[in-house]
Symmetry: none
Subunit: 194 residues, 2 copies
Amino acid sequence: MGRQKIQIKKIEKKSSLEVTFSKRRIGLFKKAGELCILCSAEAAVIVFSPGRRAFVFGHPSADAIIDRFLHRETNSRALVPAGQVHGYVQRQYLEALGRLEVKREQEETVGGDGEEHGLNELEQFRGSLEKLRKKVADRVEEMTMIMMMESVMVEYAAPPQEYNSSGVLHGHDLAAHGIPHGFDFGFGFDGHLF
Amino acid sequence: MGRQKIQIKKIEKKSSLEVTFSKRRIGLFKKAGELCILCSAEAAVIVFSPGRRAFVFGHPSADAIIDRFLHRETNSRALVPAGQVHGYVQRQYLEALGRLEVKREQEETVGGDGEEHGLNELEQFRGSLEKLRKKVADRVEEMTMIMMMESVMVEYAAPPQEYNSSGVLHGHDLAAHGIPHGFDFGFGFDGHLF
DNA sequence: TAGCCTATCTATAATAG
DNA sequence: TCTATTATAGATAGGCT
């Protein structure tokens, strides 16, 4: 699947490792998204980069998936409360999203004709988005994560179970889940990112 | 990556959906495993089939990854539940992505040009971005949404923080969660995993 | 500065209908 | 299983902190 066949073992060359991580991470999330759409499945993917940054994909929200997983919730869907998103902002977002998709389509099919100025504007904006994203990423915890231990691939036989009928997910709390954890990381926004 | 090009939208034929789900789920786990090995990354993947079954991949253990992820949320002081907003927007994005695929397909078969329409859309898009950029001033959730517009990948933020100096992470036993499980090695890595 | 991530192009290995 | 389509290795460049 590339210029050359590779062995599945740790990439030693650092630069190659970083590039490969970035590309494969994108590929993995894309696959997860496609699986969700094609099969009406729900999935969450959490990846910690070698640089210790966290990347997450979830459909619907990673939180909903994880919560359901931890609760063995099988009979009800944990929907993301629409009220979580401010109405106006949401509307703006959806409108822009639609246009963004239209734009992407044009970029791919038309190419740069008499739209040079427009493309530049778009690129500039996308560049600023990337900066913002990096800003957020910068807040990722500094902890050093341990060695690769044992890989586990398990199919869980999900037993039917009741679930909070409100459909609203509460903040995740390890103690509440009864999950043992031997370390304390301290993830989270501090409320003053920007 | 198959005999026929397919559009990313829900598969209606039940039998096809099941086969596709099974194959793609395996493929997704395999990709996740390869990413971990190749890049010394750590990842967890949780998938709920349309039939409500849960499939999980984790390296090192899904539990370790999930713990890490959840802890971020537990300590979150964000004004808006970041994860849920991400999830919501992400879902919107995926749905839009699905529609886009359908649209592309339609345009390919019809062969319309829509150049005038395109320029108009571009202008609207730029206007929308301007509005959003102004609104983005100090709202974390807005930025999150805008960031999400750019990609399905979310990079979660977390402040630098100390953690247990033991530096040793113990794999969390699934049994400790009271989670029943059976092993599913739908694929392998030449006899030994890692 | 060094570290980490992303973008893009081409040839080709891997995959999915 | 077969093979057309897709994902990605490799190379290189660039960006931000």
